[in-house]
Amino acid sequence: MPLDQQKALLFGSAAAVRLLLFTAFPSLPNRLAGRVEVSTPVTSFKRLQEGLFLYTHNVSPYDGGVYHQAPLLLPLFSLLPNPSYYPFATSVLFTMVDLLSALALAQIAESGQSVVTRLFKSSRKDLRWSSVAIAAGFLFNPFTVATCIARSTSALTNLFILTAMAKASQGASFTFVLALSFASYLAMHPLLLFPPLLVLLYDARASKTKSAPSPFLFSVVHTLGLAAAVCALLFVSALLTGSWDFLAATYGVRLLLPDLTPNVGLWWYFFTEMFDSFREFFLGVFWLHVASYMPGLTIRLRKQPLFVATTLTGIFAIFTPYPSIADATLYLSLVPLFRHLFPLMRYTFLASASILYASFLGPAFYHLWIYAGSGNANFFYAITLVWSLGLSIIVGDSLYAALRDELDVERPELRGEEVKRI
């Protein structure tokens, strides 16, 4: 089968599965939208509807203290018919978002930046999966499907992150800056992806043209571009809502964690237990911890910027305040780009088994805690720990494999030797 036909078949079947689930099980979207694993306070579709209601009735959407998402989503969704009566338009929109994300993922795979960059050529570069297979891995991942059916707005964030990666690996400056500014505008933490992706963009550009552009000028121009784009988005938002209150209600909530609704992350339980006097300190420490991975990884793995960006999405899926399975699905669908590292990874079975077990036991324990009343919060928190453990094993193991892969190129004589931890 030619490649385009394969792609058409894949996208067609993925869209069909989603639309079938939307139409055949009309109660499923709302049920999933209520699951804490899928919808967080900052991505929930139910909260978006609340904000939308206030917005269309000329009340500030942030007045109720329920809506914590970006203001620009409101005009977009107010164009669609009311999802309580005509859910089809929203279903089509979210299906499209997933398809576009898969398209961007396929573009990343086709660029080959995961195995061969400007400064580094993996010795296992022939071990790759086709872009169609990688897109299929994203589209048919049950977590992606669940995120799409729940109409969580993190699907949009994922789309913009993937587009930014795709454009960076193609060397398209303008669209890259635009996509990343949208991602950062929607979810804030994707801003941390800027340095590694900028390196990626620079590499892609430098290998295209004969003479590499000046790194300093290049980064200044793009940083200014990003700042301008984000400022423009914020300014339009302020115009739209009539005040700058949205900053505290959106980014303030993400930064300061006032809403302790349980999620699959590690923050909520910790901060429910915390004495108020320590709150600010630990908020600072937790955020510093998330942010600290970026400079270290970017410098150490300077030669493989796409891998740094991928690992950072994994870090976000574990350590940000409001993660959901949508963040995990983004990371898990980027990992197959690095198929050549799989033979070097050591704990794949352990990691995948713990993630699979956690995804079955999580809902069971949540049920015991909230509905049956026979369990308590510790049950669910224990499972989120297992979930995060599984993800962090993949992050750590793939990081080891990437370093090992680099070592094999730098010191071919050490190939196959056992490493010792010092």
Partner: protein, 633 residues
């Protein structure tokens, strides 16, 4: 590091691959043995009341003397209503409650399940506690007809008498709701659904008056007729829908009041005679597990438990010397204890297996048995995964210095002489050098086998979706057609694996590796579902784990006889066959069970059939296809 290297080297040892079936078998044996030792004194504990506020049996009860005459009068009133219509009956019962100065309301409900129409009417009254602020309530239930379909004369009369009697007391610090439900399962379900606004207004009427959060519910089942009947023991029924149990404190309070204060013996799980021997304890436990595993409603209390309202039913059994007043005083004392509660029952266990009225096993002690059964599947899955990634014929002992002759023989048998033309006796070797030492490895041990994941994954997922079909059919077939449907489904499912295996052979021959992977994924899912299920409904996970444990040991076999035997064993353990055999064994009709299941699905929110059709049946089907694949090879 050296140890790790040795272990890694062992991964390729053929002898290691022989180990997992034994390990799986060991898990199953230990799991079952674990369950069998639970009734021993060393592994079970005496029950105790954990919540201090309950103070069971510490109050004097006053439901005696002239109340007896009132009770008898009510019982005659109730007896007069037996032949009257539902409307008339509820009207009269409402009037009786209203005469005790209570607020009364009624509720109609109408359910449709398996082509049947279940409709009746509940009547209930609310006593506003003199010291209460209407934030909490406890419920006293008597169903008009009990689980066996007998009219609950004395139970209803007792509720009426207690309503009148409780109204006179000033000490209630919770509201008390008296509910006389139309039947034993759907009526309380309709009422408690509507109480929590979780009902479908098309079938169930809204409640006109409500009180606060329900803290507990007690149902009485005393079907003695207008002239009374003295009973021997109280049978305490505690299983909720889907195997959820009430807090053990409620059960303990009831037992300690009945046996300690009133001197009435308590029994459970239909064990009318219990001499506290090992066998009797074991039988009690197994009956409890069966009841929990099936997850059906066992009395009027069952509907309350999913809403986190702890509830039990007191059933009078046998011929003895206890009269209705001692039951009334038991209920009075129980309500006085519940009245003391400062917070929701939470102190004691929610997961337990009872061995007799005052002995239990807690979750920490019994859970490992179901987990071991589930782990056996995970072990098999790991083994099959490793096996699928290996070359077709692993060398017998890779660490041995001499390459074994059997390896080269099997190579020859596979017709690979062309590759081996250079050296017919020995397999080709690869030289590896490390730290000046030289070692020889068989080349094929260094080859990496790629796994073809697509077909197995699609197959297993399709199988799981296929289970939706029988689930839908059985839940929505009207009763007259159920017998035929059951016959058809059992015939189809018995032949379907053969057909599927034949078709797979015709279109695309699944390789041995794909067969292994199909089984691997199917068993992996089964193990995962069962370990998650064990935390929700231990008994169901255990029962299904035991019934599907042959799936760990069957393989695609070239040997036709062995394959036929394995297929025959699996065919006997077909979920449909198991249902048939179990209903025959326990002396019920299949149709009766299916109707109950459909009623459970539509009315009680039962999900046992989801587990059967979407977990158990797909695993069985995949295993059978794997075995049948060998028959067509």
């Amino acid at each position: 590091m050296a140890l790790l290297a040795t272990i890694l080297a062992l991964r390729r040892d053929a002898r290691i691959l022989k180990l997992p079936p034994y390990l799986s078998a060991l898990c199953i044996i230990v799991g079952v043995a674990w369950l069998l030792v639970l009734p021993l004194n060393e592994y079970s504990r005496n029950t105790y009341v954990s919540e201090n506020a309950l103070l069971p049996g510490q109050v004097h009860t006053y439901f005696t003397g002239s109340e007896h005459n009132i009770f008898r009068a009510y019982r005659h009133e109730v007896a007069l209503l037996v032949d009257s219509s539902v409307e008339e009956r509820t009207q009269k019962l409402g009037d009786l409650l209203r005469a005790s100065n209570l607020k009364v309301a009624t509720q109609n409900y109408e359910y449709h399940a398996a082509g049947r129409n279940i409709s009746n009417k509940n009547v209930y009254a609310i006593l506003q506690g003199p010291r209460a602020d209407a934030t909490e309530a406890v419920v006293l239930v008597a169903a008009w007809k009990n689980m066996d379909g007998e009219v609950n004369y004395s139970g209803v009369a007792l509720v009426l008498a207690l309503a009148r009697y409780f109204k006179r007391w000033s000490l209630w610090s919770k509201d008390i709701i008296f509910l006389i439900s139309g039947d034993s399962t759907s009526g309380p379900q309709a009422w408690v659904d509507a109480y929590h606004d979780q009902h479908d207004p098309r079938h169930v009427e809204n409640l006109k008056i409500k009180s606060g959060a329900l803290q507990g519910a007690v149902a009485v089942d005393y079907p003695a007729g207008p002239w009374g009947h003295r009973y021997d023991k109280l049978h305490i029924v505690y299983d909720g829908v889907n195997g959820q149990l009430p807090n053990l404190d409620l059960f303990n309070t009831a037992v300690s009041i009945a046996s300690g204060q009133m001197g009435i013996g308590c029994t459970l799980q239909r064990m009318w005679k219990h001499d506290d021997s090992y066998q009797e304890r074991l039988r009690t436990m197994l009956r409890g597990m069966l009841s929990q595993g099936l997850g059906h409603a066992t009395g009027p209390h069952s509907a309350f438990i999913p809403y986190h309202v702890d509830a039990i039913t007191l059933v009078t059994v046998g011929d003895g010397w206890h009269d209705e007043m001692s039951l009334g005083r038991t209920v009075e004392s129980l309500f006085r204890s519940l009245n003391n509660l400062l917070e929701h029952l939470h102190q004691s266990f929610f997961f337990y297996l009872l061995l007799q009225a005052n002995r239990f096993v807690s979750i920490g002690t019994y859970l490992p048995s179901a987990m071991l059964i589930a782990a056996n599947f995970s072990i098999t899955a790991i083994a099959l995964w490793v096996q699928s990634g290996r070359p077709a014929t692993p060398s017998a002992n890779p660490i041995a210095t001499e390459p074994s002759s059997s390896a080269s023989k099997s190579e020859k048998n596979k017709g690979k002489e062309a590759e081996k033309s250079k050296d017919e006796k020995k397999p080709s070797m690869t030289v590896a050098e490390k730290d000046g030492a030289i070692a020889l490895f068989p080349t094929k041990d260094l080859e990496i086998t790629e796994r073809a994941l697509f077909l197995p994954l699609i197959f297993v997922l399709t199988t799981h979706f296929l289970g939706l079909l029988p689930l839908y059919v059985f839940n929505n077939t009207p009763e007259p057609y159920l017998a035929h449907t059951f016959l058809a489904v059992s015939n189809i499912t018995s032949v379907l694996p053969l057909g599927a295996a034949y078709l797979l052979r015709q279109f695309k021959r699944p390789t041995a590796q794909e067969m292994t992977l199909i089984q691997c994924f199917s068993v992996l899912f089964l193990g995962m579902f069962l370990s998650a299920l064990a935390t929700l409904n231990f008994s169901l996970a255990f029962i299904i784990g035991i019934l599907s444990c042959p799936l760990s040991f069957v393989r695609t076999s070239k040997n036709k006889i062995l394959g036929t035997v394995m297929y025959a064993v699996l065919a006997l353990l077909n979920p449909v066959m198991v249902i048939q055999a179990a209903t025959w064994f326990f002396g019920h009709g299949v149709v009766e069970i299916l109707v109950k299941a459909a009623e459970g699905w539509h009315v009680w929110g039962l999900w046992t059939q989801v587990v059967v059709w979407l977990v158990w049946w797909p695993a069985w089907f995949a295993g059978s296809v794997v075995v049948a694949g060998g028959l067509f090879a």
